[in-house]
Structures are given as structure tokens and as C-alpha cells.
Symmetry: C2
Subunit: 444 residues, 2 copies
Amino acid sequence: MNISDLKKSYINKTLIPRELMTQIKKRIEEHSANPIWIHILSDDELEPYLKRLEACEPSSLPLYGIPFSIKDNIDLAGVPTTAGCLDYSYMPAKSAFAVEALIKAGAIPVGKTTLDQFATGLVGTRSPFGACQNSIDPKYISGGSSSGSAVSVALEMAAFSLGTDTAGSGRVPAAFNNLVGLKPSKGVLSTSGVVPACRSLDCISIFANSTEDAQKVFDVAASFDEADPYSRKMPETQKSVPSSFRFAVPRADQLKFFGDVEAEELFYKAVQSFEEMGGTAVQTDFSPMLEAANLLYYGPWVAERYVAVKDMIENSPASLLDVTRTIIESGKSKTAEDYFNAEYKLKAYRRKADIVMEDIDFALTPTTGTIYTIEEVNADPIQLNTNLGYYTNFMNLLDFSAYAVPAGFRKNGLPFGITLFAEAFEDRKLLQIGERYMQRNNDV
Amino acid sequence: MNISDLKKSYINKTLIPRELMTQIKKRIEEHSANPIWIHILSDDELEPYLKRLEACEPSSLPLYGIPFSIKDNIDLAGVPTTAGCLDYSYMPAKSAFAVEALIKAGAIPVGKTTLDQFATGLVGTRSPFGACQNSIDPKYISGGSSSGSAVSVALEMAAFSLGTDTAGSGRVPAAFNNLVGLKPSKGVLSTSGVVPACRSLDCISIFANSTEDAQKVFDVAASFDEADPYSRKMPETQKSVPSSFRFAVPRADQLKFFGDVEAEELFYKAVQSFEEMGGTAVQTDFSPMLEAANLLYYGPWVAERYVAVKDMIENSPASLLDVTRTIIESGKSKTAEDYFNAEYKLKAYRRKADIVMEDIDFALTPTTGTIYTIEEVNADPIQLNTNLGYYTNFMNLLDFSAYAVPAGFRKNGLPFGITLFAEAFEDRKLLQIGERYMQRNNDV
């Protein structure tokens, strides 16, 4: 399922949105044992979207009839937002700024997808609705926190999905379900109408099957929102990657695969691909990134999660999962002194990162070092989650843009993913080089 | 005393730096009752600077033989830094990055000037060395925290001075001593070698007798410092103010002069001058600025002051003045939750400020609404200090550049000052329009 083919079918009149939605509902039904969805739009709820499309030409709207799913911490008007916590649930009168833009462009909301509660997790198991299963092997985790978003796209229930990505939630599930996951520059997609995790760091992310689709969604959704104080305008000039380029990879001793030998092989294969494409791999000291990553959950930023759900934590603690509450509550004891000491450290890491980034066109890491089964995560929920954030937790603290792309499969059929990252506002550059990599791998 | 005349005299050989320093020492002696200086360089300490200048041509160095004073929270190698607290005192092996640049350019350090302890104050009375007296009327305060810096320039003991400016410390003393005071964009002058007040907000500031001199010092001192994580590069393109321009002034009900009718008249006279220069005054809702200002001492940023002197506050509280300790200690109880709630507010104020600034070339306010006697401040040290920060406290939180310039005198001979401010990195634009204003007022 991709945007271009769907649009062609609509224009050729071999398909209408209503028919597609019937097929999608069937597919959803087939996978009903997997708790992908928190809310699926009823026929009545869908009707206004379909009616509106039936009144206009398929060629008149860039995303005409394109079905998409929405992580359930992002508002869709008239459908409850739960953030994975039923007691938190509220009914938004208005859609999130980005959702509104997509609907206006013709996209059809299929439903609200499950997530690690309050977007706190990278596993997809931290939900009162049950552990979302991997789209390829249900024994395995889907990744989180945007678990349902990724799985709904992988299982063709939506052409794309909006997730959120504070610590890696838009990249890890992409890697685990063989999708692309764009973690845009902070502020480029408005977070108006998004339940905050760490409000100063939160991003809406895009899951899709291809760069072309991610790009099309990004083009519509990336728009300055005056009402969101964290919204930032994209600069007009865009960088691109030259045919002969330099890319950073972490120093060998800083790479962690947690014993996953196949993942390690696949990563080095990806590095080799980029070299064959004209790139020079630059072995780089990743300490500034890895040390910044540690600040996210052990530093003061967890206080933002506490601020976001303080009322509920204080007045109705049993409404949260134990694991979520334990993590978020740790933000309560952080002091402003902790904050500033962490900011000073982060500024120093960022200065070191400046020096790294000045010398290269982009950086390349695994998206995660490995993948786990649901059983493994249930047995050790904190440490394994931490392992999955090793390459992702620093991204927003250091203000990078990132693009997670598939990079082959393990023998058991589970996918491996890599992440390309660059400075803020270099999103389109990453889409470009990511696409070159994927094209080449398809050709080989 | 100005840079251009001094340089001419040196080039014409009608003066040598050694002779100037003898004259300056005499002047310092004459004012020894006023606690302007914490350390005056001895002849031995001066000797290496003079020797070096005697070995080179006056024309070879942009600041050849120009005497300057240094606020005593900025390091000068080999001379103690006290920050206005003897027990805190340490001996720096290296000069601050900006001081080093000025000395390299030929400037001669005269000595270290007094300040409100730990740069916490806008009055100039909060010092164990005594209240620094106004250069024009010793009954009045000099303004602070860079009190000695301003007074040393006003009394011709130095051609310029380095102060610091977190909350207004580089602007208030300029206004009270009829000087220009440039509060550069954050990060444009390195703060390496500066005792932090609020490290994330601190700026080195420049006091001088004229725009020309401030500009010359800025040209030398504004240089990127890789070792300071808060250092920022000036963009290459510089804005300027067109001949027909728009400037914001606070809405009449938001202007506060605390009963100082003459100050009010002088402010409106300044507004009229800018209108006669081709400007259109835009009555502007200053709430975003005024509300941001409140965050500085009542919000979490005071925790930065606590972080900076925590060891001393915890282990030797009697080493601080009561007023300084009381303020700084209030930072201890601030939480990370307080910090993030304040950051969210500040971001919203900044967004509103964006809208204000997009519409104008610069903004104009009084530098302070009034001035007080030393006796008045001693009788009510907290509230009167707060009054003095009304137009200054928001500047660094909202990331503006600011230029304080003289704007006439009250009947009692005390000067009034105005401040022009604009977006970060528009320092040179402010120098330009400030100079146009002063030129015009001299001509009239």
C-alpha cells in the first residue's frame, strides 16, 4: 500500500476510498487478537471523511483517500485520546494541528493506535490494552512507544502513521517492523494537540513504507504553528549529500549489539553499502551522544513527564501501570539545581557534537542493537528498554533530525534497521540519502 | 578620554602609555574615598603590559595603550578574582577569554572593579567593600552590579570597562553614570573566565563614553570561543535600520517611572527624537517582556546562582552578605518541575515577542524608571532593586541584544538613560541607531 499507487487507482477510478476502507476494516478484523488499536473509527465516524472525498476530484488533494493511523497521544476530533491510560482519557473537540493538515490534504483517519503508556517506553508492552505484537513474528515486541502506529502500517491497515518520538519512539518500532521512520527536527511538526511526554523535546514522527511516502506526508504536515511555542520554521535553503560524502560511525568499542551477532553483521554491511555509494566512514568518538543519552531518563527531563501527568500521579496513582508510574514519579524529586547542572553538561556535549558534525555529511548508527521477545521484556522490563534506547535517547536533546530505514533481515525473518542523523532542519537531506541507500539495496 | 584621541596622541608621540597610567593613578588616588576598585594594578603588575607596548608601534594594535577596567567577577591573570566576596577569592592563572583578546589588542588593564556581590543586584550597594557612589552625585547609587566598572569610566580612570549583564548589570550603571552600555547578544562575548551568576544567561558587557569606542571594543572582544559551550558565532549578514523605521515603545499604562516625573519627560522626549529621525513609534503590549522579567528572580533561574556558589553557601554562609545569601539561597528549593513550568511560560512569551519584533526595527524603553540615593536603597534594598530591573530583567531570558545610551539630565544633574533592544545578533544595528540618536541630540 503506497500513496502513489492508491492515488493512481483513485484517478483511474479502479478504487474509491469507501471500498479501500472496507478492505482495511477486514484486515483489522483479521488481526484483532493483536492489540494494535485503541479506537477504530466506526462507519458513522468515517462517513464525513468519505463524503467529503466523494465530493472532490482525486487529483485535487495531495493525500486524497490515503488512510492513516494516529498514535493515541495525538488528538483526532471527536474520538477520545487516552495516551494509553483510560482514566486519563479525554474527548478533543479539535484535531492536532498536524492531523488537521493531513485530513485537509485528503488523508483518512483509520483510528487511534496503541502505545507504551504516556509514550514512556521503547518496547510496546507497557500498555493496559496488552503488548502489541511484532508484525512479522508475534512472539517479538513491536517496539514502542509508537507500537500500534508501526504495526498498523506494516500490516497494511494504513499507508502511513503519525507517531511521536521523544526518546526513540518513532524509530525503534520502524526498525522492528521493516518501515521507514522519520523523526523530524524538533518543532518542524507542531505538537499542538499532542499529550506531552517531555514537552521541550517531543516530536511527531512519520511511519511509512517508503521514503517517497514519508516525504509526501512530511511536505503536508511540516508547517509552522503559531500556537505552539516550540514550533520552528524550516529554513528555506536545504542541504543535500554530495556524490562523494563523509559519514560518522561510532568507534567500534562504542557499538553495542547485546550479543546479537546478526545485527552486528547487518550494521557493518550497511556501512559497506554507504562506502560503495561514495561515502567515507569516519570512525567517531560518540561519547558526547552517549553521555547526552544518559541524561534523558536519569537526568531532569523526566520531570517534564511528571509535570505532564502530575494531577493523575498525585490523585489517582493506581490509574497508571506500575512501570510507567515508577519512571514518571522519579521526576518529582529532581531539583532546578539538577536541571541546570544537566543543561551545562548537555551544552558541553553539544559543543563536542558540533565538532563531529562539522566534519561529516551525516552520521550512521544501528537504530537498536538488538530486538527482544515479549517474554524477555516482561522478565526484565527496565534494562532491556534501556538497551533499546542506546542509539536513540540523545537525538532530541542534541537537536538532531533522524531517519530510520530498514537494513536487511536476520535469518529468523526479523528486520534490522539503521538510523541516519544530521543537524536540525536537515530532514530532507536525510530522506534523500536514506532513499539512495534503499534504492541501491533493492537493486543489488 | 576616548580611544581615537588616545591613539592619535600615541602615534603623534605626545603621550606614552606609561605617562597616561601615571595620570590615571593620580585620578584614582583623588577618588580613593569611593570604593570603585577592589584591586588596582601595582606598578610591578603593570610593568609587563607597558614594556610590551613600548616594544611595538602604536599603529600596530587596535587598542594600543587603551586603559580599561575589569569587573571583579572576570579573571585577569595574576590578580585575584573576588566576585565581591573575599572568602570566595581565587587567583586565576589565565585571563578570561575576552580580557585576553583585549590585552592582545593592546589594551592595558587598570584594575578590578567593585560589584554587587556575585553580580546579584542592580544597585551597587551590595558589597562588603562599601557602596560604590555615583560618579555625578555621591549621594546617589552608581547602579549595579557592574558599579565600579561604570564609575571608573565615568571618572576617566579607564577608557572602557568590561562588566557583566545577566539582569541589567551592564545597562543600569551606564544609565546612572551617563555612559553607553552594550549588552551584547548572549554568547557573542565568551564567558570563559567569568564567575557565573546565571550561567545560561550571563553576558560580558561593555561600558564606554561613545558608540565608536563601544564598537571598537566589541570588534575585538566578540570572538567565538570553542571552550565556552554557551559561545555563539555572529551571523555574517548584519541588519541595519532604514532611514524610515518603526520602533516599539511600551503601552503607556505599562511604563513605570515610580514617581520620577523628570524621567518620564525625558523618556517622551527621546521617543520624540526618534520620531523626528524618521521613526514611527508603535505602542506595544509589553506583557510578554514584563512577565518574562518576573521569572528571573522569582522563577527557577535563581537556582543557577545557587549552583554557582553552592559550596560557599553550604559551608560558609557567613561569608556572604545577608541580602546576597537570602536571594541566592532561594534557588535551593526550586524544583525541576518549577524549571519546566517556567520554560513553558518563557517559550510562550518568546512566541508573543516574535510577533512584536517582526513588526519593528527595534524597541525602546527607559533603562530604568528612576534612580535612588544610597540611603533610600539601604532603607528598602529588595523592592528598590526590583524596581530598577523592571525594564532590564527580561532581556537575556528572551535572547535580545540591548544598547543603553544617555538621554539627557534631570535638573539635579543626574543622567537619564534609554535602552534600545532587538533580536539576538543585531548588536551592530543597535550601535548604529543609538549613535544616530546621540549625534542628533548633540547637534540639537
